[in-house]
């Protein structure tokens, strides 16, 4: 499921309406990111829940439906695991709820930022620019490498580990070639 979310996020940057790449939308995204961390930590649970619900609806309205479903799905799984563990070990259930809401709200804003931020918007900050390029390139290759492992019959935890290890190796190898690409365009980046 995560691979289809990655494809949706990367594909969205090509077909998204222009407004999501505007300066005002960028400011709103930064504000949302700060809120997504601050609200679940300090505000009452109901308010945090309202924020998460709004963010999920926003993703769905923007056309990122798979991402919205993924956020809800992972939140449910995370809450189920953490709640049952805390229940069995007599842990703090309210803190578990807050943590789950924090994870869900930050995940949805990260998805929102990743899908509505083109690398060109970060060109003024070479290191951030390189990071966003390496990130996007690695995600694209993760999708390819996952297909290769699946075609070879890999599955289960082994498949996940193979993809994770290959992705990390790829991002390191890819950084140097992308640095060359930026240098050829006149941007000095220190590796």
């Amino acid at each position: 499921m995560i691979l289809s979310v990655v494809q949706e996020v990367l594909g969205y940057r090509v077909k998204a309406p222009r407004i999501v790449f505007s300066k005002w939308f960028s400011i709103a995204k930064i504000a949302l990111f700060i809120l997504s961390i601050a609200v679940p930590v300090v505000a009452p649970t109901a308010v945090s829940l309202g924020l998460v619900a709004s963010l999920v609806i926003l993703l769905a309205v923007l056309g990122l439906r798979r991402s919205a479903v993924y956020t809800v799905f992972t939140a449910a799984i995370l809450y189920l695991i953490m709640f049952s563990t805390a229940f069995l070990l007599h842990g703090d259930l309210e803190r578990i709820t807050r943590l789950t809401l924090l994870a869900s709200s930050s995940l949805s804003t990260i998805i929102l930022i990743a899908s509505t931020t083109k690398p060109s918007m970060l060109r003024r900050w070479p290191t951030l620019y390189l990071f966003s390029i390496v990130f996007a390139n690695t995600l694209k290759e993760v999708v390819d490498i996952a297909t290769v492992y699946r075609a070879r019959g890999s599955g289960g935890l082994r498949y996940v580990l193979q993809v994770v290890v290959a992705s990390m190796a790829m991002s390191i190898a890819r950084t140097s070639t992308l640095v060359d690409s930026l240098k050829a365009r006149g941007i000095e980046v220190t590796e």
Partner: protein, 245 residues
Amino acid sequence: MIIETRNLRVSFNGVEILRDISIAFDSGVHIVLGRNGAGKTTFLRALANLVRFDGDVLVGGRSVKKMGRREIAMLIGYCWQNPYYGFVEATVEDEIRAITRILGVSGDWRIVELLVPREYMGRDPSTLSGGEAKRVSMASILVADQPIWLLDEPFTYLDRDGVEAVVNLIDYGRRKGKTIIVTLHEIFYANLIKPDTYAIIDGGTIKFFDRWSSLSDEELAKAGLVPRGVICDTLCGPRGLGVQS
């Protein structure tokens, strides 16, 4: 504009890739030939100051070591071999416009017209086919209209239309007085672009450097390249393509 090397040496992890290369290229088209792993790509990367090297590379009499990255990118257009390795933007249009915005130049959009069909512009570069990606990758650098072009194996991935586009591009660059250095590992495409000179790299040094008309099959064979005679025998002989026996 003249680009020249003086005692150029490049080593990676103690292994010498290029040894003591001193050569100069003026306006026109120049082919650098060499077998796989001969050091052609490293040579181009050194010219563009993308690898550490000893010796010097001079552009218009000035050392690239004393130039900033932006200045080098204004003078030298370096196009890498694998197009997918260099994509940095979300759409083809952004990819092509990136260098003009970074360098603050209007660019020469005739170069883009020659290489990239309009319908590619809204696409994600990573979804392009090999040949499409190669065209976009080259256009994304050369649009800045630098006086020196370094083209690393520009014909890989290309179909007939793509080869024709690159040949037209090189011809356009020649007419604009650019210094164009093209690396190739086989001679077939060299004949299409009618270079002024050729250089053969082997074992990290320039073995031959002369006018294109002087190139002999013996030199090609010595450097581990397929001689023209073999290509002709295969394509034009009795068993060749399009010839009825």
